[in-house]
């Protein structure tokens, strides 16, 4: 796989799945922009890790839900590095995945949904919108959006979170149609429960065991398990794939 020199932006990359994706791109020779919201120190650790492995990377702060801040970041990337080849929309609004404390349907407020929609779709929207003119001008680009397998199998119904991610799937497919003629692909990766990450810390042993038992491959995902599919969508191997979603959950969802 040759991602050498590909200017790659990973949002929410200071920790969890995002950090692993950033590192994986770094290992493949991409130039990685590690976007973060608050955790400057952790973002720096990711950058250090990539550089220690011989890769190239830099950290950039931006709130993906803030249109201007995203536009400034993307303009800065293109200004400094001359292009933007790959974006990975991984950032998500803070959310606690606790099966015991989750809200039931009858306790949900419209604001809960709004917050997730704002964060998940809104964040991806801002990034995609900001890079579009550049990718069109380059006659190509890769957009990869992180979803969840809960869309297809809501083992634990996190209503607001999963609904927003389902919306992001719809957004991605529509985007793929309009951007395909410009040589830009839009694809999604839908991980199953991924442990350990900050978000999944409160998903306790019993639930993890139960999911592992239902999973053909017999375990829940670790952050490193997610990276391959993202790299694939960014690679030349996936040059003619767009509007697709790969489930990375050990076979829990099959479709």
């Amino acid at each position: 796989m040759d991602l050498k020199g590909k200017i790659t932006l990973v949002t929410g990359a200071s920790r969890g799945i995002g950090a692993e994706i950033a590192k994986a791109f770094g290992e493949e020779g991409a130039f990685v922009i590690v976007n973060y919201l608050q955790n400057e120190a952790k973002a720096a650790t990711v950058v250090d890790h990539i550089e220690n492995q011989g890769g190239e990377s830099t950290a950039m702060q931006a709130d993906v839900t803030d249109e201007q801040s995203v536009q400034d970041m993307v303009a800065k990337i293109v200004d400094s590095f001359g292009a933007i080849d790959v974006i990975v929309n991984n950032a998500l609004p803070s959310y606690t995945f606790n099966p015991k404390k989750r809200k039931a349907a009858w306790d949900m407020k419209w604001e809960d949904y709004q917050k997730q929609i704002e964060g998940s779709i809104g964040g991806a929207f801002n990034v995609c919108k900001a890079v579009m003119p550049y990718m069109k001008e380059q006659n190509g680009g890769r957009m990869i959006n992180l979803l969840t397998n809960l869309i297809d199998l809501p083992l634990v119904p996190y209503h607001d979170y999963t609904t927003a991610k389902a919306g992001l799937l719809g957004y991605s497919r529509n985007l793929a149609v309009d951007l395909g003629p410009f040589g830009i692909t839009v694809n999604c990766v839908a991980p199953g429960l991924t442990y350990p990450t900050d978000s999944s810390l409160e998903t306790k042993e019993d639930v993890r065991e139960e999911i592992a038992r239902l999973t053909p491959m017999g375990k829940v995902a670790s952050p490193e398990d997610i990276t391959g599919s993202v790299l694939f969508f960014a690679s030349d191997w996936a040059s003619f794939i767009t509007g697709q979603c790969i489930h990375v959950d050990g076979g829990l969802v099959m479709k």
Binding site: K136, E137, N139, D178, P181, F182, G183
Partner: protein, 483 residues
């Protein structure tokens, strides 16, 4: 045919004439080897050939009815429409090697082109220019009295073009329709197809084929061209402005001279065609118009004017076009270039990369396609070989002043505009010098019977003889049986 050595004559002459001296040119490909046999010609050869052709024209072709000629041409064309026809297979195998054009592109375009010479198209072609095509056979009454007959030249000398394979077939067919003997000089870039077509005519009717010769020689060889021009009643010349001008100098004023020199074509896309649902079709069509025969045909656009105000901006149109050009190139790769041609594209690219206002989209690794976007309209020819300008304009009408200094060169305008604008636009384009307005996507496929470069085709070749009413009436008094 595969992996074999094959020899074929790169000339065609009436079979009663023997040539004695030859050279060869060898072509190799993975299909094997082809040896093209070229005659070494003298002025006497030309004289002998033209005399023979003229005699055969007089004794045979001139006596055929036009409908019979049409049937014979149709029979030859029908052979070519069979994919298994041996000459078609030979052409499909070797034209890509000779011309450098993509094999699949040749296969498709040749077939499309030859389809325009079937009987029904030939009939339409005649009616296009003659109210009563029977004037080519006999004196026919005129509405206001008298009778007229049209005579084709006894011998037409063609200087064939070499940029688009098959085009000489069009010239040969025109000559046949006016029942002329014909000598065609092939271009070194495509010496094969006219010869093969003559062979097909020979298969259909050996006598008819004796009124034809197709010969290769290096343009400008006076000792051959002089006797050829002397013998011909009409000269039809294709080529660069310079070579056409050189030929013209050698043609005496009393001889008919038709020329088809350098032309430039362009396209116009109105904002009504730039909706999200319709735009892609225009982009796709234009990528094909630009790419076909590597833009060597004069009908291929070098410039596209795109109007602002649609859902897709002119810049986005250029970006979309770039991607479509790439798709076409993957399907049908451009042929290899001379170093000078590749350099021309590279300097064209860098010249525009330096201009801050324009954007260059091109294949990242080579020169196989290039789109240059400009925010203001202008008129600038491209270096061809799949390079095209996209000019943004606030209104298409803004473009006309830019065309004025190129008036003599303008040919086809491919348009994507609404019905309410088509007439006005065509009127203005006509004034500007454009001779053909067609849909985008059809630029490279001129229909039979078009006014090539704004002229008649057959009418320009023939001369008329009128029997005036007075002669008719006067003759009556000498009727011995008159009362």
């Amino acid at each position: 045919m595969r992996n074999e050595q094959q020899e074929i004559e790169a000339y065609f002459i009436p079979d009663t004439i023997q040539l004695t001296s030859f050279t060869t040119r060898e072509l190799e490909s993975k299909q094997g080897k082809l040896i093209l046999k070229y005659p070494v010609l003298s002025g006497e050869d030309i004289q002998c050939i033209t005399e023979t052709i003229k005699a055969n024209q007089k004794n045979y072709l001139d006596k055929l009815q036009t409908t019979e000629v049409i049937d014979l041409v149709d029979a030859a064309v029908q052979k070519w429409l069979d994919p298994d026809y041996h000459w078609r297979q030979l052409a499909e195998t070797w034209l890509p090697v000779i011309t450098g054009y993509d094999a699949e592109m040749i296969r498709l375009e040749l077939k499309r082109f030859l389809r325009t010479f079937r009987k029904k198209e030939l009939l339409r072609f005649l009616v296009e220019e003659f109210d009563d095509p029977a004037v080519l056979d006999d004196f026919r009454p005129r509405k206001k009295g008298g009778l007229s007959k049209a005579y084709g030249p006894d011998l037409i000398l063609h200087f064939f073009s070499g940029n688009v394979p098959g085009l000489p077939v069009w010239n040969l067919v025109m000559g046949l329709l006016v029942k002329s003997g014909q000598l065609g000089k092939t271009s070194s870039s495509e010496p094969l197809l006219p010869v093969l077509f003559a062979k097909s005519l020979e298969e259909v009717d050996p006598e008819l084929a004796k009124t034809l010769a197709v010969l290769p020689w290096k343009g400008g060889e006076d000792q051959l061209e002089h006797p050829a021009i002397q013998a011909a009643e009409a000269v039809v010349a294709y080529g660069s402005s310079e070579s056409v001008e050189n030929i013209r100098k050698g043609v005496p004023a009393h001889k008919r001279f038709l020329s088809y020199g350098h032309k430039i074509s362009f396209a116009m896309v109105g904002k009504e065609a730039l909706t999200l649902d319709l735009c892609r079709e225009s982009v796709h069509s234009l990528a094909e118009d630009v790419s076909v025969y590597d833009q060597q045909g004069c009908v291929s656009p070098q410039i596209i004017y795109v109007e602002q105000g649609g859902s897709v901006s002119p810049r986005e149109f250029a970006q979309l076009l770039a991607n479509e050009m790439d798709h076409y190139n993957r399907k049908k790769p451009r042929g290899p270039l001379l170093e000078s041609e590749a350099l021309a594209i590279q300097s064209f690219r860098s010249q525009h990369e330096f201009q801050i206002e324009s954007s260059v989209y091109g294949h990242p690794d080579d020169t196989s396609w290039t789109v240059v976007y400009h925010p203001e309209p202008d008129f600038e020819p491209s270096p061809l070989n799949r390079t095209v300008h996209v000019f943004s304009c606030t209104h298409l009408e803004q473009v006309y002043p830019k065309l004025s200094s190129y008036r003599q060169y303008l040919q086809t305008a491919g348009v994507a505009v609404g019905p309410d604008r088509l007439f006005k636009l065509s009127e203005d384009l006509g004034k500007a010098g454009v001779s053909r307005v067609c849909a985008v996507g059809k630029m490279a496929q001129a229909p039979s019977g078009w006014h090539h470069d704004g002229q008649f085709n057959l009418l320009n070749l023939i001369r008329w003889t009128d029997i005036e009413t007075s002669a008719e009436q006067h003759a009556e008094q000498y009727d011995e049986d008159s009362e």
